[in-house]
């Protein structure tokens, strides 16, 4: 691969990675994957 093509490939991967990172942060599906949440509340509450 020529230097120019190598450069373009690296640049393309970098741009793609940055775009993916920003895209993932906003389009990420909420999935707790079994993680724990703990709630402290009062007995009479219907929350």
């Amino acid at each position: 691969m020529t230097s120019l093509r190598k450069f373009a490939a690296v640049l393309g991967v970098t741009v793609f990675s940055l775009a993916s990172y920003h895209g993932l942060a906003s389009a990420q599906e909420i999935n707790g994957e079994g993680k724990e949440l703990v709630m402290f509340t009062i007995t009479a509450s219907n929350v």
């Binding site: 990420q28 707790g32 709630m39 007995t43 929350v47």
Partner: protein, 311 residues
């Protein structure tokens, strides 16, 4: 818990719940035992029973996971340990009360009622003194009625149940008999007690006095039959579901909080979760319900007014 549990299951979380019987010492012990167990939750949802006394709990919990505070807004001392608040927007509830009072005044005028003063005389039965709920709602009510204020002739603290409503109403009503046109009561439970006291004093609610309640906990019969003009619909199950959503958004966005307020709008069905970060304040939807039609036609996130207020 039903709202929180259902939402946790939908979002793939395992929810562990500790309930205290209106006891801060009991909650303190639960927190200590939980921390001592070595548990490592993704987030903590915390409803302090006595906010000022629970600061140590919040501080210690914040050392094991990010904390979302539920129902009671954090105060200055607890904010350093809390990532976000999720729950009722008390100022919005107060604004909604104000709007209903304005409509009640119009309706009373149309029905031929003659007021004790040009603006109409108002008595307020508020939550116990010092409770932020009452203070914030009052601010909202004043804001909503500022262009056409009522003549507030008395504010009495303490009524937040049928029993306290009746007890306090029985003392206040005779003192001001013949002087008031409107009442704003903290919640419908207390209003039901106030109504009993009014009737014992020969005063007909919905005719001699027009009543608005801040939220609808308890029987809605008095709203359906016109003894109470209107109430606010505030679903506990939605409050729980929203707290879980807020926690899930916080975890999914690696602890990021963005913006000051997210105010959820009233919707018949729960909207899809927005995957973005939570705000500092994540407020649940709130709707007025005026009369029998208002009760019949109000639905929030799949719950009818009767289901919400009976819970």
């Amino acid at each position: 818990m039903k709202g929180a549990e259902a939402e946790a299951e939908k979002l793939g979380y395992k929810l562990t719940v500790f309930q205290n019987n209106f006891s801060q010492p009991e909650q303190d012990q639960q927190v200590q035992q939980y921390i001592a167990s070595g548990a490592q939750p993704a987030a903590v949802i915390f409803w302090p029973w006595v906010a000022d006394a629970a600061i140590n709990d919040v501080r210690q919990l914040s050392q094991i996971a990010p904390v979302i505070q539920l129902t009671q807004e954090p105060n200055e001392q607890s904010w350093p340990y809390v990532q976000a608040y999720s729950g009722a927007n008390q100022i919005l509830i107060g604004r909604t009360v104000g709007e209903m009072l304005l409509q009640a005044r119009d309706a009373a005028k149309a029905a031929g009622m003659e007021f004790k003063s040009p603006e109409g005389n108002l008595i307020i039965f508020q939550h116990p003194e010092g409770e932020k709920t009452g203070t914030e709602r009052y601010k909202g009510m004043i804001e909503a009625t500022k262009d056409a204020p009522f003549n507030e002739i008395h504010l009495e603290y303490g009524a937040n149940s049928p029993e306290s409503g009746y007890e306090i109403g029985s003392q206040v009503i005779p003192k001001f008999k013949g002087q008031f046109d409107f009442m704003w009561v903290s919640n419908q439970q207390a209003a039901n007690g106030i109504i009993r006291a009014l009737k014992e004093n020969g005063i007909e609610p919905g005719k001699d006095v027009w009543i608005v309640s801040g939220d609808c906990s308890g029987s809605l019969d008095a709203v359906k039959n016109g003894e109470t003009f209107g109430t606010g619909i505030q679903p506990a199950a939605v409050e729980g579901a929203l707290a879980v959503r807020t926690a899930a958004k916080l975890v999914a966005n690696e602890g990021k909080v963005e913006g000051e307020v997210i105010q959820m709008e009233v919707a018949a069905e729960a909207p899809a979760i927005d995957p973005g970060p939570p705000a500092k304040f994540n407020f649940m939807p709130h709707a007025p319900a005026i009369g029998a039609d208002g009760v019949a036609n109000t639905q929030i996130w799949g719950y009818t007014a009767d289901e919400i207020c009976d819970s």
